[in-house]
Assembly symmetry: C2
Homo-oligomer: 365 residues x 2
């Protein structure tokens, strides 16, 4: 099968979603792609993935413990945290599983197509000064972040927790956030406190954050060692999933058919627009194709919404000729990494950043 | 197959979801059931169903036309509307398709399990005084509400629009809303203006409302005549889907397994709680079963959150004995209507209000 022979619509070729995947798809949600029009994704449109349940938060008794390999362990309540120097930053966040449902065979988990992304301005304070004031020991290696959400996964009962290499945790843009787009965090996004790790997939940005533990040995817990690794076979150790691979998405033009989401457009010039981002740095170029990826044209690229957030792109598409088109867009970041034309399989379905494909019928005038 | 022989988990017995259904499930979203703990559902947790795309709103140029069979057609901009007498009301809203994915065979559309519900306080002004000031003609029969969202459905290109019988449109609690839970409407919930029809399924509460047209003959458009009707076969005329059937839901107790959402609980007494509502009036009773509906016990029922909103209910469950349980809850409203134990099929999958079933394992201490 050649690269251009795969099914044209951006969905799984198989149609055998399990009841378990449906339960996840009904709870969690993506960002409807027309919301790419906003620099900052409004509350409720930002993608959401919750591993276990949204915990009930008691802000008056909430506190954050900073401990482990530090000289002076800290316990901070919300008031103390909010007395720290404020910092806010627009951050594009994407789920590591975005694109998973386009694989064949499809890894059974939250079945994302394209839409597990969003950009918010997160309000809080930088993590680094707090770690420094706790006094990092010289043998510190990783930092573990523990949330208040608890469940079973892979047969293990666990608090949701993820570790970061020390250097990543000390990035000046990592923040402890209590606000989103100028309002308090919504419960589902981590109220009253969450971690934000710009540039890394969303599983690092631990919600309902209760504990920060500095480690002197690699963390061996479920979410680092078993989940979120690139593997071809279950027995492999695999490589950890870390930074966000480049991706461009477009606002689907015209109007949709309710069920298929296929698009219909009156003939004429059509301004295609969307967003592009990468966790490895800025976007260098975005290209657009109207014939399924055979020919590509350069899109105009705006400055990013912030140093850790997406760019808007646009392209004047000549859609004067009625007919069926398969629109694609693809991003290349400053490191030279470019999106593949078709999904590249891995066991967990992580970082599946193949180009978006949108079927559009230009109707008769 | 006896009533108690159907598959215990509250999902479709079939596992063959189509790519089209997955696309809808990724765009739209339910309310994670732990959010039943809130009297008012926070932004982003309220269920969302959008037929076409979320339109881009220009609040400065937005206006509402009130016309058709009236003596004095009105055109009101947002400022004029917001100068009208304010009115706000907590309203429980549910999608008519809630429960659809539990049918077998499953009608192919947005695949809801249990979670297409939410309660918000909607802020705006009453519709009735505006209709009266426009001067309803004596032959007025229905009122048609037209949104700004446009798409194809059933082969017809259309603005989303739905008609209400005149008496329903004149209900004093019907409102034109520009706010939700004390904030402006989010884009996905109809910014800058939507209709709210308490007690009726959500398809009546037209979002992005642009036009109100008083009709002197029954409306024959797609969303009233073809969609949203109770039918057994496609050729039938069927009965219109109108008010919300009674339903109770519980916050699933204990902690979940990520993929199956099955629940695990330490032994002891467990406070089960949830919400119950009906579009036909208040809830008269809620019952709970821990053996799949064989035996039922009465739950405590709180006063409703408002005259058009859900009640909280609670029940002290004796969960001291380790083992597997199938928890159910069911509501009866003041008209005597009670939820069925198992889904009752109809072609569109509307008002499938069979009791919720939650598998819980009480673990060893």
């Amino acid at each position: 099968m050649s690269e251009l022979d795969t099914p044209p619509v951006g969905t799984s070729a198989s149609a055998d979603l399990t009841p378990e995947e449906l339960q996840l798809a009904a709870r969690n949600h993506g960002m409807p792609l027309e919301a790419l029009r906003y620099d900052l994704t409004p509350a409720g449109l930002h993608y959401l993935l919750v591993h276990y349940d949204i915990p009930e938060a008691a802000p008056d008794t909430w506190h954050l413990e900073i401990g482990g390999a530090v000289d002076r362990p800290l316990t901070l309540d919300l008031h103390a945290l909010q007395s720290c120097r404020e910092f806010s930053l627009p951050v594009t966040m994407e789920c590591a599983g975005n694109g998973r449902a386009r694989l064949h065979p499809r890894p059974v988990s939250q079945p994302w197509l394209f839409e597990a992304v969003g950009t918010a301005r997160w309000h809080g304070t930088r993590l680094r000064p707090l770690l420094e004031s706790a006094g990092l020991r010289s043998d510190a290696l990783e930092v573990l972040f523990t949330g208040a959400d608890r469940g079973l996964e892979g047969g293990e009962e666990q608090d949701y927790e993820r570790s970061l290499p020390l250097a990543a945790a000390l990035d000046e843009d990592v923040l402890l956030a209590w606000g989103m787009n100028g309002a308090p965090l919504p419960p589902q996004h981590g109220y009253p406190l969450r971690l934000i790790v710009p540039g890394w997939y969303g599983m690092c940005s631990v919600k309902w954050l209760r504990r920060v533990t500095v480690l002197t040995a690699p963390y061996r817990g479920y979410q680092n060692e078993r989940a979120y690794r690139y593997r071809q076979e279950r027995e492999e150790e695999g490589e950890p999933v870390t930074r966000i691979a480049p991706r461009a998405l477009m606002v689907p033009p015209g109007i949709p058919e309710f069920m298929t989401r296929n698009r219909f457009l009156r003939p004429g010039e059509c301004l295609l627009e969307g967003r592009a981002w990468s966790g490895h740095g800025a976007i260098a170029r975005v290209e657009v194709s109207d014939n399924g990826g055979r020919d590509w044209s350069e899109a105009a690229l705006d400055a990013p919404v912030g140093s850790r957030a997406w760019h808007r792109w646009s392209y004047r598409w000549d859609a004067r000729r009625p007919g069926d088109y398969e629109l694609c867009c693809r991003a290349t970041d400053v490191t030279g990494e470019v999106q593949p034309l078709h999904p590249v399989w891995n066991l967990g379905g992580y970082a599946v950043n193949a180009v978006q494909r949108v079927l559009v019928t230009v109707t008769a005038a």
